[in-house]
Symmetry: C2
Subunit: 153 residues, 2 copies
Amino acid sequence: MMLPTQAKQTLESALAEHGLRSTRQRECVFAVVAASMDHPTADAIYSRVRESLPGISLATVYNTLETLVSCGLVRQVNFEREPSRYCPLSEPGKHHAHFHCTRSGKVFDVHLPESFMKDLEALLPPMFRIDKVDLCISGQNRGENPSGHVEPD
Amino acid sequence: MMLPTQAKQTLESALAEHGLRSTRQRECVFAVVAASMDHPTADAIYSRVRESLPGISLATVYNTLETLVSCGLVRQVNFEREPSRYCPLSEPGKHHAHFHCTRSGKVFDVHLPESFMKDLEALLPPMFRIDKVDLCISGQNRGENPSGHVEPD
DNA sequence: ACTGATAATTGGAATTATTCCAATTTCAAG
DNA sequence: CTTGAAATTGGAATAATTCCAATTATCAGT
């Protein structure tokens, strides 16, 4: 897993902003998450990262994921009490929700337009300052999959 | 903790619909949750229930909460990876979100109007059948509390 | 390059909410 | 009452995550 130069810049400046160093481990974990569209768990990330960094420890994967989340590069997603999943967070201003198919276990991103976020904000008492919004929808995907044909997952 | 006759009816019929019996333990756990506006954890519910049923086990509290959730009487609420919290679910058709104050730890219900739920549905690919929506907003409550005066939690 | 100070990583132990399980108790119906 | 199913119980087990002390890597200043 190699990190494109541009992504490397992104990582390094985000870390620097928080007074943190860029390391091989952080680069690699970031590269794996950035390349993963399937919302992997820490464990799955661990095994993917080990393909390029066999000696990395699970503790470091957890530490790094926490670091990346706090730098705003990665998002942690929780469904019920399942193990946390992680996804890349490219544009900081853009919000997305998650659809969790209870049949297949797959997770889909759902883009949330600015208008929707505004509506949501309007529903809250005005003195509640929003830091984070977690919206998870679960159900079953009975539709077309990306390959274009219909199947029940 | 005594359960009002009407609530008892609700519980008994909901349980009966699922082929389940009403028991002292279930009545009491239900009564505690129904009377709790603070979104208690299983542990908190356990200690409240023990005031009327000192011999109840934590396992039963967990079992019962699961039962009540599956009967649609109680809602399980998760913030990040914190212990699950529970709240009464009076009207089955009515949706609400949760605002989690990161300063005080308090949880507030946020009513979601039907129009908002419709908007949300419209954002999803049409073949996604929604079973459940979990919306958690976290941030800080800098506003008036129910007693009417302003304080920083 | 070298050195010291600081930060990051590591392996393994610890934590903790929750689930599991086998044994007992309760319940409702015949 | 008896009997079979359902519910409860205490304690053990699970599993994701966090903690910790020891090692290793990195950076800044010489």
